[in-house]
């Protein structure tokens, strides 16, 4: 197991920690929204392709 040099940076204060947690939560929600949108997009494309009879290209 290779161990690189340890480099500790400035510790976060309580308010900074809270801000980081908010950012992480925001990222997670954005990712969820993107995944749900993707599912919806593929579902809609599939329905249209089936209705047009062009599912296989």
């Amino acid at each position: 197991m290779s161990v690189e040099p340890l480099e500790l940076l400035t510790p976060l204060s309580r308010s900074e920690s809270a801000k980081v947690a908010r950012r992480r939560r925001g990222r997670n929600w954005a990712l969820l929204a993107a995944l749900v949108a993707l599912v919806g997009l593929f579902y809609a494309i599939t329905l249209v392709k089936i209705s047009q009879g062009t599912l296989v290209f």
Partner: protein, 343 residues
Amino acid sequence: MTDSNQAIDHGEDRGGIAPSLVSVSGVSVSGASVSGAALTAPGLAGEEAFSSAGDWFALLKPRVMSLVVFTGWIGLLVAPGRLHPVLSFAAILCIAVAAGAAGAINMWYDRDIDAVMRRTAGRPIPAGRIAAGEALGYGITLSAFAVVVMALATNIAAACVLAFSIAFYVFIYTMWLKRRTPQNIVIGGAAGAFPPLIGWVAVTGGLDLMPVLLFAIVFFWTPPHFWSLSLFAHADYARAGVPMLPVVAGARHTRWQVLLYTLFLVPLTLAPWALHLTGATYGISALVLGLGFIVCAVRVVRDAQDRQGISLTRDAPARGAFKYSILYLFVLFAALAVDHYVG
């Protein structure tokens, strides 16, 4: 990224004081398992070292994306034939995501020069909020997604042109031309000219004279647009060592090039009308808009300047030409769509 967050969670458990970044690869520190992925910004302290959803969105260069989406959409609208609205939406989304993905890869490659330019120093990578490798992976993943979905939703030809446009922007413009030649914008501008062509191919599955003209219009619009910007932002480019025209050939030469390309562009925008590919609505709009652009370019050339060609008006005409050029392309393409439906 998750690992670094875990480290923070452990810190919060201990009373809100957490090591913000730990530079250890695959070893356990204070009970928190961390890895190299936690290294988002060595040397950067505090909450600024952690990305938000907005940072990931900023990697996609949303401002550039809006023009790309609009021109792509117009290409799709004016093409003969009809694409189902859902598939049209998917095609536009793919064009937008591909442009954003190419922008993210561009930011990954240009992170060194972005860091020394005032205009770009706050971008997520040079500011240390997103790791360079993560931005590259993000860009590649989104590129693949855009091309695959374009093939599934429309046709293989559109997907191929889309893939080529991404490759052109990344390899030809970003990696090859941008740092080597003052003509980088002229040739690299082709990358931004692809969207209307892709929109057209998504509907028809093939090429025609009209999409090639649309490509040429955006291609010849790019130099006066970008060189107007570089006239008042050239200090940034000089500091970064990017051979933009004002840095290499001087401001006076650049002003003449803005006028020259504008004089090239205006007759070109009239070509679809002259060739009876569009009606008078577009033709008259193109003529009026073009005359406005020429006036802006003439003002740029006649700007009060010292012997070295440095503007004495803080490049007010160049700023005006830059703003006008954006409005110009939007209205020109909007006129094309209106003409298509109204005649």
